[in-house]
Amino acid sequence: MAGSGKAHLRKSDDVILRVEDLTMEFPAGGKNFVRAVSGISFDIERGETLAIVGESGCGKSTLGKAILQLPKPTSGSVNFQGQELTTLNKDALRDIRPAMQMIFQDPVSSLDPRLSVGKIVDEPLAIWNRGDEVWRSNKVDELLNAVGLDPALVRDRRSYEFSGGQCQRISIARSLALEPLLLICDEPVSALDVSVQAQILNLLQDMKERYGLTLIFISHDLAVVKAVSTRIMVMYLGKVCEISSPDELYSNPRHHYTHALVSSVPIPDPNVAARRTTLEGEPPSPMDPPSGCRFRTRCPAATDLCAQEEPQLHEVSTGHYVACHWPRS
């Protein structure tokens, strides 16, 4: 897996975010470094939903935060609407932040338990001095209505009085307060029940249409992202494996890792469930990644070449890019 390479980057004017060779390292004692993200490039066009998929520890959350410069990446470039974020100073970066918002995995712990729901949603507006109090109050009501909560019932209550799904709605309302262009959703539904997941996924779709958002959707669950994404990027150990449209990726996964991910999705059918192939073992440590293709230690098709040379992303069919020496046919 793995690859580096930029064959998949587009030249269109509609590109709202372009990330090139992004690397994020964390010190891990002594001379060791954890390379959570190593040399990732991708772009997103306005109105797209890019899903970033991979197992725990593949660097997908770190990548999401690195885009927002939380913290600044070790190297590489993040270009948002023609502006290079990695070289901006603190004040300039702060000015650009309202346009990029994030919602987090655990909706309960990402809301302040001491603030009322009205205050939580109002906080970004208050910090940025948007409008007067009446305008802000109306805006809060509008946002709460938009996410399917009744302002009269919820405004004065605290977050701990709500279920996980409702807390995620509050988080979404808060993230939309400053009318962002780009919304990064980090595992927004993995802490929720199956039945509530569907409600939140539909809500995100509605919000995207209503507010003209561009979404980055980070998840470990391919079935969840299938419903919402227009493009999927599969990551493994800090590298990109495969990029494609969802339908193409699921019907024709070319990377062996993508194939394993697809076949791990539980199928609600007792006759099918017994015949699935599962991925053995666990990902290697990102402190000491394998040479060449990083997936080779778990890959059924690995050869000597995979240990020697890192595969580059190349186009296998229109809009479908794979970083593998021996892609599945």
Binding site: E55, S56, G57, S163, G164, D193, V194, S195, V196, Q197, A198, Q199, L201, N202, Q205, H220, D221, L222, A223, V224, K226, A227, V228, S229, T230, P246, D247, Y250, A260, L261, V262, S264, V265, P266, I267, P268, D269, P270, N271, V272, A273, A274, R276, T278, L279, E280, G281, E282
Partner: protein, 327 residues
Amino acid sequence: MSNNPMLSLRDFSVSFDTARGPLYAVRNVNIDVADGESLGIVGESGSGKTVLSRGAMGLLPKRAAHRSGTVIYDDHDLSQAPRKELREYWGTGMAMIFQDPMTALNPVRKIGSQLTEGLRVRLQMNKRDAKARGLELLHRVRIPDPEAVMEKYPFQLSGGMRQRVMIAIALACKPRLLFADEPTTALDVTVQAQVMQLLSELRHEMGMSMVIVTHDLGVVAGHTDRIAVMYAGEVVEIAPTKRLFANMQMPYTEALMKSIPRLDAPSGQRLPVISGRLPDPTQPETGCSFASRCPYVTDKCRASTPPLVEVAPGHSYRCWFPIGGSR
């Protein structure tokens, strides 16, 4: 060995005292688990599935939780048994795997010490035998390099590894009935598949009975013999797994099934949802508990509670107008 079920719950109910009055978490549940059987209990958060499994094992706090009905384990009535007597059954008779392996393991004790504790206390093994058995258990749950893992602390292991350790601890004293409460919910999809596979293999190897509690019908589809669907503290449908998927009767089961995101569904489409939410468990309603969210609701559903009726051997449901019936 008798023909009686391994575990039998009759009119089993659990309520909690709250500031707003009694909260009815589990209501009149009748379930049997046969020797060697794997039963899935499926429902949303708040449906009472976790309280049911903990209540059956006697793990709920005595003062806060009121249990009624009977719990018969292996021909012993445990419903009124004092904690001291219940302890005799924990570990060797019934054991439980908890949802979150990080909080269920003690963060300041090494894996080895947590793993051998049950062996030393319950089976009175000496230190060396317990360690040997501990290593064998870790090997059995497919943990690479068990010797090293014995010396580690929970935070040094990945989520999947921690869940394997939890399974090893639960299996240490060779229980005859294993409760697995959302065993894979905190895990990645790939690891989830591995852990479910492992649980199924171990069940067959050891001839255990197993109760898997989950909110995801997809997870239990290939790993259970029977499934009980719970809603608002009641069992609303119970059937052999294949029959349930092929022939579900209860609109709630259908709604749960439809809300699972599927790979074979076209992308970019809205997912079917179950609108509304669970009824307030402190306010017992008249009529069917699912009436407020059911797409097929009629006046009869709101007025009177449907009884549990059997359509085929082992397949019962609680609905006035079942799917496929005359509406």
